[in-house]
Each structure stands twice: as C-alpha cells, then as structure tokens.
C-alpha cells in the first residue's frame, strides 16, 4: 500500500504538471508563436514595422487614450468607492451594481450604445450638429470608449478594501479636527494606496488592449483613429502578417511591462510596505501635529 505521504506528493506532482502544461499550452506557446512570427522577416523587417509612421501614430493614440482615461478613472474610482463604503444612502446597492455594468456589457455593444448616444442621430445629435462637433469616429470617441470599458477597474479594487477597513479611522481623524481633505490624504489614501495602484495597472492594461468598443467607434481612419490593436487588425487584413505580429509583440511588451510594474509594487508591499506599517508611519505625522 502507498503511504499517505507518497499520495500527497503524487497529487502535488499531478497538480504541478497540470498547471505547467496548461500555462505552457495556452500562455507561453502562443507568446512564442507571436515572437517567432514577428521576426519571420528578419530583424530589419521587424524594426521597419515597429517604426512605421502608422504604427507610431497608433502607439501615440493608444497612449493618449490611457493618459486621459487613467486620471479620470482614478478620480471616479476613489469618489465612487468612498461614496459606497463610507456613507449610507438609499439606492446604494443599485449604484454599486451599475458601476459593474461595463463588465457585463460586451465591448462591441458598448460601442454601439455610444454611437446611439453620441452619434449624429443620437441624444445630443442636434446639439453636436449645431456646433459642428464630431465625437464618434474621431479621437474623443476612442478615449470615451476606453473610459467606458475601464470604469469599474479602480472602484472594484477599492470597494472591498475600504469596506473591510470601515470608517473608524476616518471618524477618529474627524473627531481630532481633520478636514475632509486632510482625512482623505492622511488617513484614507495611505490605507488604500496598494489597491489603488493595482486598479491603475489593470486600467492601463485594459485601455491599451481594448478592441471591441474602440473598433465600433473608430471608423478605422488610418493614421488618425487607429489604436495599436486596430492597427494590428489592419496589418493582418492587408496580408502584412510579419508586421502584424511585430506590432503584436510591441503590444505584448507593453502588457509585460505593466505586469512587471504590478509585481514590483506587490514585492514592495510584501517587503516592509505592508498596509499596517504604512498606516503607522503616516498617521502620527498628520493633521494634529
């Protein structure tokens, strides 16, 4: 008969093998395919594809979308999480559910909703017509679509944490005479900063990769409303497979950088920067002193 020790080691081995096989088959192998395909035309073709003006413009637009989306989502995420965890009011659970809407709505549908909402025949159609403003099929549309799909990311990271932490510390700060802003910057923010950073990283990653909603709203105007994921599709459609994979590898690199940033922050979190210590560092130096 097998000893129980042997069985537990065996099951551990099985679990490890299954995980490893799954990860290599569905994650590592596709990444390798992308890299090998993108260098299929040689290093020079790769560099040409990466440095093509259209690629750079797409990269610029992708960054622009991230840069505009991020601060707005951070602001909204904090405000929403604050409202949902520190106060009691009617319709709270409804609001909480609504924040998740962009998770539930498929991105393509989100795109169509925004067309109906912001298009020439939409709610603001006549107003837009009057001021000769074009929102859809232009840069603002890309930004709005990205904003829409990433709305929940920061708020969803913050809400559980803030719920768990409760309001005692804030109440203490207020009773010691801190203003709302002081309470936020000296008490709340230090408590949530790691979750906030995680939310930021998720938002960045999603904004860079968003395809569906952006695709519907972009109009695919080369060099103008084409983000990196859309540019990859165009290159692929033009039988420019090497370039398509080269640009994919660029997008992948950006994704890896965000992952590394995430790991870095978590590593900092574990090595000395734990939530409680941070709290102890900062609270004494706050409003009262």
């Amino acid at each position: 008969m097998f000893s129980s020790d042997y069985i537990s080691r065996l099951s551990r081995l099985i679990f490890q093998v299954i995980t490893l096989a799954f990860v290599s088959l569905f994650l590592i192998l596709p990444l390798c395919v992308i890299i090998s395909e993108s260098f299929g035309g040689g290093l020079k073709a790769y560099l040409n594809a990466i440095s093509h003006p259209d690629t750079l413009l797409a990269l610029g637009l992708t960054f622009l979308a991230v840069i505009v989306t991020l601060p707005l989502n951070v602001l909204f995420g904090i405000v929403a999480a604050w409202a949902l965890t520190k106060y009691e009011f009617r319709g709270k659970s409804l609001l909480s559910a609504l924040i998740d809407l962009p998770f539930a709505v498929p991105p393509v549908i989100a795109g169509f909703i925004l067309i109906l909402y912001l298009g020439k025949h939409g709610v603001f159609g006549s107003l837009l017509e009057k001021f000769d403003l074009n929102i859809i099929f232009s840069t603002p549309a890309i930004v709005i679509a990205t904003l829409f799909v990433t709305i929940p990311f920061v708020a969803r990271e913050l809400i559980p944490l803030m719920q768990e932490q409760g309001t005692e510390e804030e109440q203490a700060a207020v009773s010691l005479g801190a203003s709302t802003l002081q309470t936020f910057f000296y008490v709340t923010l230090p408590n949530i900063k790691w979750a906030l950073l995680y939310g930021i990283i998720l938002t960045v990653a999603r904004s860079m990769g968003e395809f569906g909603a952006v695709s519907v709203l972009s109009g695919h105007i080369r060099g103008k409303t084409v983000t990196l994921p859309l540019h990859i599709e165009i290159l692929y459609n033009e039988y420019n497979f090497t370039a398509a994979f080269a640009v994919s590898s660029l997008l992948m690199l950006l994704a890896l950088l965000t992952l590394i940033a995430k790991e870095f922050f978590f590593w900092k979190l574990n090595s000395g920067g734990s939530v409680h210590q941070v709290q102890e560092d900062t609270v004494p130096g706050d409003p009262a002193s």
Binding site: L59, I67, K120, N134, K193, G219, N237, F264, K268
Partner: protein, 361 residues
C-alpha cells in the same frame, strides 16, 4: 508614495514621447475616402499618385485619409456620421442607402460620373488549392457533397452579395437562355420555375458553407491562411491579389463559364464636401480614377479597367474573357435585388434558415 511618483514620471515621459505625433502637421486640404475591403492596396497607390499629381497641378498639398472595412458596415458608419468626402464602395446599393437614409448625397448620384459611377469593374471567380484536388470547374461543382465553400455573409459583405447573385444568375441560365430571361415577364411560370431551381441551387450551395465571414478579406484569410474550405468564391481582384501576396499558400484561380460583371461604385458626399469646401479636390480625386493613369493603376491592382487600352499589356493578360451578365440584365436594379434576396424576408434569409432546419434533422 514612491510607486506613484514613478508611475507619474513614466506617464509624463510617455506623454512627451507621443505628443509630437499630435502636433499639427496637417497639409492644406484633407479628404477622406471611405472604401471597402479589397481596395486597400489599390487606393494606397492611387492616393500616392493623386497627392503628387494634384499638388503639381494646383500647388495645393492634399492628404487622403483612408478607411476600409466591409462595404455595408462602412456605409453604416457614414450614415452614423463618419465624415467621408468620397465613398468608394462595393456596390451601388450601399451608396443608395447613404443617400436615402441621410440625404448627404442626391439620389441620382450614379449619373454624375461615366459608366454609372463605376470606374473599374471586376467579376466573381473561384480560388482553389494547388492542383484543384476537388476538381472544381464551374458553379455546378460547388454544390457537390463534400465540397466546402467559403463565402462571406451577403448581409454584411458587398462581395458576398455579388457572389450570391453570380451563383443565382448561373442557376437561371441552366434553366433558360439569356434571350428568354430578358423577354419573360416576372410572373411568367417559366421564369418562376427557373427561380425555384435557382433557390434550390443556392440552398444546396450554402449547405456547403461552413463559416460566414463578415467581409471579403476575412473570408480570404479564413480560406488561405487558416486553410478552411476547398473553394473560395471571391472577387477576381481579390483572388489575383491573394495569389501574389500569399505565394506560400499555393492557390489557383478557376474562372467559371459564366459570372456577373461586378461594378463597384464611387461618389462624392455632397454634404461633407460643401461644409469642408473640398468639392474641387474630391471631384478631381474621383475623376482621376477614369484618367489613363488611374485606369492603369486599377489594372495593376487587378481591377478590370473600363478603358482596357490604358492597362499595360502584362496586366491585360490577367483578365481572361468569360461570359459576363450584368445586375440590370438579371435582377433589374439593386433595390429590387435587395428586396428579393437580402431583405429580412428575402431568399437568402429563408434558404439560410433552412440550412439549420436540415442540420437538425
């Protein structure tokens, strides 16, 4: 807060890096051409020729913005507000839709340029794998059991509509001759019988279609790159381009005995060009398509030019002679063809629904 600081610095760096791409480098005039899928390569070259040529002639620098996608989808975008100065779509019906839904261009747009506003034409042919293993020679071979046919969705793709109508026309010609077809009235029992046969033929054909892509280019990629299917029904220009662009896939063109003359049409979008004061450029842009250089470029990119004499001799050899019928001869006009075949209660929806009914049995 060191982490936040690093992130902020990174963000600022990225900002300054991409800022330069957004600085104003716009030339004097900008026009946008909203086109369909298979014209990508042609308009890339044509735009280069046009910008150079127009600048020489008028001293004005012009930039042509380009957007591509399935024809029906592109028309939809223009209706929803995509600011096209000119549209160059796969079929007149899509431009008609823009006209009737928005009034951005007059209903008689097709009469404003020669040849019904179709500066180049093409036809529908088959693409098969090297050696033609399933021995596909004509439309009739497409309904054989075990032949997988790739064609995009006629409800979204202009090319697929032409594919569908070409097959329908072939089926009509099996029952009647061309003379009868033009002579018989719509409710003639002979013609109705022929149409029933055509309906049955198309039903059999679509039973052999495993996947409907939304556009012609997607279908080509499905067939050529992903290796799905035995035969791809597609534009002649798309087939010739695939031969050239994907030599490693080892494909062959089969020209059927009879096919349809496809007429992709072009038009100004009056509302936009009047608002942006770009009528002159846009007009010159479309007229340039009929110029000897425009025609030669179209031929180089595998479209059949209206004036074949402008094509170089080696380009001319790419276009074999075959029996071509027009949309008008067999279907009246696009409005009628759409009503009968591609409307919600049209033949395509009915026969495609039957396909599922049969599969379940």
């Amino acid at each position: 807060m060191g982490g936040l600081k690093i992130l902020l610095t990174l963000t600022l760096l990225l900002c300054s890096g991409c800022g330069q791409f957004f600085s104003d480098r716009a030339p004097a005039v900008e026009i946008m051409n909203v086109s369909y899928d298979p014209t990508r390569e042609f308009y890339r070259d044509y735009n280069a020729w046009f910008t150079e040529n127009y600048c020489e002639g008028s001293g004005e620098s012009v930039r042509v913005l380009q957007s591509h996608g399935s024809s029906g989808k592109q028309a939809r975008f223009v209706i929803d507000g995509l600011e096209a100065h000119v549209v160059t779509l796969a079929l007149a019906y899509d431009i008609d839709a823009i006209s009737s839904k928005t009034g951005k261009l007059p209903p008689d747009w097709q009469t404003r340029l020669p040849h019904g506003s179709a500066p180049y034409t093409s036809t529908i042919v088959f693409l098969v794998r090297s050696g033609n293993p399933k021995n596909i020679q004509d439309w009739g071979d497409l309904i054989k059991v075990g032949v997988e046919v790739i064609t995009p969705n006629p409800l979204t793709s202009g090319g697929a509509r032409w594919n569908y109508l070409a097959a329908w026309g072939y089926a009509l010609l099996q029952a009647l001759d061309e003379d009868q077809l033009s002579r018989l009235s719509e409710d003639d029992p002979l013609l109705q019988e022929a149409e029933e046969k055509a309906f049955a033929f198309l039903s059999a054909l679509f039973r052999n279609v495993p996947v409907l892509d939304s556009g012609a280019r997607g279908a080509t990629t499905t067939f050529a790159r992903r290796g799905i299917g035995d035969v791809l029904i597609t534009w002649e220009n798309e087939a010739l381009l695939a031969l050239k662009s994907l030599p490693q896939e080892r494909l062959e063109i089969v020209t059927p005995s009879v096919s349809i003359l496809t007429e992709p049409t072009v038009s100004l979008v009056d509302e936009v060009i009047d608002k942006r004061h770009t009528r002159d450029v846009a007009q010159a842009y479309l007229e340039g398509l009929y110029s000897p250089e425009g025609q030669a470029l179209a031929a180089r990119h595998y479209f059949r030019p209206r004036e074949m004499q402008h094509a170089s001799p080696e380009d001319r050899d790419k276009f074999p002679e075959l029996h071509l019928f027009t949309l008008e001869e067999f279907f009246g006009d696009w409005q009628k063809a759409h009503e009968k075949h591609f409307s919600p209660a049209g033949c395509f929806n009915r026969l495609y629904a039957m396909r599922y009914a049969n599969q379940e049995k």
